[in-house]
């Protein structure tokens, strides 16, 4: 179970234009997660940032579905439904928060909210 060998075998399974395998889905999901994370770290607009967290959630969901199919076990797909639900709840919360913040500062830039910080001590 050497990790290196493991991953070599893993990537070897990815054949160009071949049959769709588990690995394709996992790579898609990892890519989606990475895109979401990078977006979250680089964008300053709070709505975009929130959407990026949604991307990360959906990346996990894709991995779940792929594994669910792979293991022939439905619980992964059930989990996805719950992820969607929680994501919706978070969306409601996020939008409420964003509206509140926008009213206060008239901007969606996350950087303006940096009053709470370490005060440098001499």
């Amino acid at each position: 179970m050497n990790w290196a060998a493991d991953s070599c075998a893993f990537f070897a399974a990815v054949q160009p234009l071949g049959q769709l395998a588990l690995s394709h889905y996992l790579i898609t999901s990892a890519a989606l997660f990475a895109i979401g994370l990078i977006g979250f770290l680089s964008r300053r607009n709070m709505i975009i940032m929130f959407l990026c967290t949604e991307l990360m959630f959906q990346a996990a969901a894709i991995a779940m579905i792929a594994f669910s199919r792979f293991h022939l076990d439905v619980s992964g797909q059930v989990f996805v439904i719950f992820i969607l639900t929680v994501a919706a709840a978070e969306a409601a919360l996020a939008l409420g928060l964003v509206v509140l913040l926008y009213r206060r500062r008239e901007t969606l830039n996350a950087d303006v909210w940096s009053e709470l910080r370490e005060t440098p001590t001499p």
Binding site: W3, S114, R117, E118, T121
Partner: protein, 720 residues
């Protein structure tokens, strides 16, 4: 090295078996020894909350401590054999781990009472009561301020000290150990408006933490190796019982066993102010004088001696442990005595002499005369309490004056006779004047040192004894004898200013003091009843303790601290030692008489000039002054030691303080500051750090994974 140690490997343990086999259940009313100080603490707190500005807290404390002393006496009277007194169910854990091994961790809130315990408790509570009574008068200027706080601190101290001494297991001992440290912190910092007091309190706390860490690790290693922290129990699985039966698989080669004595030693050195951790004790004199007498001279600082005496069977786990204790004790004794010679502040002199005498006690433990050590603890507790309390009386009466150059002829002043003569008794004892209590107890240690063939250590201690006699009587001849003259201290308590007691030199920069003339008393006021009464009682105690040798020996030899062969080796004690020691004490006193009573003026003049310009002491012109010929001798003898002492003092002040105390304070702050930019308040930079941390963790594990393969196989069972 050590026939003594080897001897004890057989006999010391036998004694422990003897003590441990016959543990009986003791009377439960003994619990009041602990509960009374606790009640007094609560009542003092109530007094503070209700803003009762009378002496009520003092009477509550004195009363409850007196009752707990009576309880101890009753326990002593009814004592037949070692007792176990369970009070509360505390830690009582049993488990069976995955591999089927049973384990347990039992540490009840319970007393283990043998004769050593009783000896210690008798003088702890007895002196505690008397000194609390003394403090009721001494602290009276503070009745409207910290009076209740002070007595609450005394109650905490007595509670914690009783926990420490009465504990039947090491966890409870540790509880008391930390507790007395906390009480000491509380009381040293009593004058919290004075930065030097706060600094001293912090220093004491922090230096003690180093020792405490050692003790804590030692206790854990004891548990780790022996599976118990109890001294003895009914099932026969207590620490002493295991050690006595030798049933701990004889893994004595393992470092984790051999380290135990050294870790315990570190704890003892911290609490009892030995090299290298002695630095906190002199500064601790910032506290009120009764605290110095009770905690930093008579009782708390002997906790280290108690620990080593109690754990004597454990100390024998490594052959080099006890010799190390002896040498560290001897070196501390010498070092502190040399420093004490160069001080002018009475309390500081007594503080260094306490460090020095504690060194003697450690030598006693180290050369396996736990009897001698305990005897010296016992006599020292009395005479050092007398010395501190007389010093406190002077300070109280002279508005904080403690400089021995500024008070003279106390015994000729009206109302000061009791102070002067009780101080003389204390000085005689400390100096080891023939047939005084200090003479006998010190001799017991010295004789044993020569009996186990450690002549170098022995001569070093004899030299220390000479210095001790000299600096002790330097104080007495300066302050009590000679013509009457005095300068009042700069401060006077009780007139609403927060600076209470002056002190000459604390090693810390005190803020400029503003003492309005109206506040300065011009007339000394001699001590009144409470102080005089306590002084007389403790002095009588110090005299009586002269004859307590065989009594103390009976206590020690029926406890885990017993060293059976010590009684035998008594016969090998060289007969010349007491004669030599007595002569040396007298010689020291004579030297002190010569320089500090007979030709005091020239000594003062020279000293003043030398101090005015430090360079002059190196110049021959100073020596050529035949005028100062008497001082020349002193210069020849004393100056090298004086320089040595001052070098050490400066080392203490600038290197130890800066490097360890301040440096230790700065390093974490500096590190903290270097992490500060990370917390810049920007949401996304936090996100980057978090994601980076996660990425790093994954990367580390993934990169490490091939190297971790053997462990993984271990984890997953390696295919069954």
């Amino acid at each position: 090295m050590t026939e003594a140690v080897q001897l004890s490997l057989g006999s010391g343990w036998l004694a422990a078996v003897d003590a441990a086999r016959s543990v009986i259940a003791g009377p439960s009313w003994a619990g009041w020894i602990l509960w009374l100080p606790l009640i007094s603490l609560v009542l003092c707190g109530v007094c503070a909350a209700l803003k009762i500005h009378t002496k009520l807290p003092a009477w509550i404390t004195v009363g409850s401590l007196a009752i707990s002393f009576v309880v101890i006496v009753a326990l002593y009277m009814s004592y037949r054999q070692p007792m176990e007194i369970p009070l509360l169910d505390w830690f009582n854990l049993n488990w069976r781990s995955n591999d089927g091994q049973a384990g347990s961790f039992v540490a009840g809130f319970a007393f283990y009472v043998d004769k050593l315990t009783l000896l210690w408790m008798l003088f702890v509570t007895g002196l505690g009561t008397l000194i609390a009574l003394y403090a009721s008068e001494y602290m009276e200027p503070d009745v409207k301020r910290g009076y209740a706080r002070f007595f609450a601190g005394i109650s905490v101290f007595l509670f914690a000290m009783s926990c420490l001494v009465l504990a039947d297991n090491l966890v409870m001992l540790y509880l008391g150990w930390e507790g007395v440290g906390f009480a000491s912190y509380w009381l040293i910092g009593y004058y919290y408006t004075r930065p030097s007091a706060v600094a001293a309190a912090k220093k004491a706390f922090i230096v003690n933490r180093i020792g405490d860490l050692g003790l804590a690790l030692g206790i854990w290693l004891i548990y780790y190796n022996f599976g118990t922290v109890e001294y003895a129990n009914a099932q026969g699985t207590g620490l002493f019982q295991i050690l006595a039966s030798g049933s701990y698989k004889h893994e004595a080669g393992g470092w984790s066993i051999q380290a135990i004595p050294f870790l315990l030693m570190l704890g003892a050195f911290g609490k009892s102010a030995q090299i290298p951790l002695y630095v906190w004790l002199p500064d601790a004199m910032e506290g009120p004088t009764p605290v110095s007498a009770l905690i930093h001279a008579a009782t708390m600082v002997t906790a280290g001696v108690y620990l080593l005496a109690r754990m004597l069977p454990v100390m024998e786990l490594h052959p080099a442990a006890l010799p190390t204790v002896a040498w560290i004790g001897g070196l501390t004794a010498l070092l502190a005595a040399t420093i004490g010679m160069a001080q002018y502040d009475i309390k500081r002199i007594w503080a260094y002499s306490t460090v020095s005498q504690l060194g003697f006690m450690f030598v006693g433990v180290g050369v396996l005369t736990t009897y001698g050590a305990a005897f010296h603890v016992f006599t020292h507790a009395f005479f050092k309490a007398v010395l501190f309390l007389t010093g406190g009386a002077v300070m109280h009466g002279f508005a904080g004056q403690l400089d021995i150059r500024k008070i003279s002829g106390l015994r000729h002043m009206p109302g000061w006779q009791i102070t002067a003569w009780t101080m003389l008794v204390g000085c005689l004892c400390l100096a080891g004047f023939p047939l005084s209590s200090g003479f006998f107890s010190k001799d017991e240690i010295l004789a044993q040192v020569f009996a186990v063939h450690r002549p170098w250590l022995g001569f070093m201690l004899l030299f220390t004894a000479l210095l001790t006699a000299y600096y002790t009587f330097r104080v007495w001849f300066r302050v009590c004898a000679g013509p009457v003259s005095y300068e009042m201290g700069e401060e006077h308590h009780g007139h609403g200013d927060d600076h209470h007691h002056g002190k000459a030199d604390t090693g810390h920069k005190a803020p400029p003091r503003h003492a309005p003339p109206a506040h300065v008393a011009h007339q000394p006021h001699p001590p009144r009843f409470a102080i005089n009464f306590v002084l007389v009682v403790i002095t009588v105690g110090a005299i009586i303790s002269t004859f307590s040798g065989s009594w103390v020996m009976d206590k020690v030899s029926h406890s885990s601290a017993a060293v059976l062969h010590a009684a035998d080796s008594h016969e090998h004690h060289p007969g010349w030692v007491p004669w030599l020691a007595g002569t040396i004490a007298v010689a020291g006193i004579v030297v002190a008489w010569h320089f500090h009573l007979a030709s005091r003026k020239s000594a003062d003049a020279l000293r003043a000039r030398l101090l005015a310009n430090p360079l002059t002491r190196w110049l021959p012109t100073a020596m050529e002054n035949k005028w100062y010929v008497d001082e020349f001798y002193e210069w020849m003898i004393v100056t090298p030691l004086w320089i040595f002492a001052h070098a050490l003092y400066l080392f203490d002040r600038y290197v130890i303080d800066l490097l360890f105390v301040d440096g230790v304070a700065r390093l974490p702050k500096w590190m903290g500051r270097s992490f500060q930019p990370l917390q810049n308040g920007v949401l996304q930079s936090y996100a980057v750090l978090m994601a980076g941390g996660v990425g790093l963790a994954i990367l580390l594990v993934v990169v490490l994974m091939p190297h971790l393969r053997p462990w993984l196989i271990g984890f997953f069972g390696g295919g069954g």
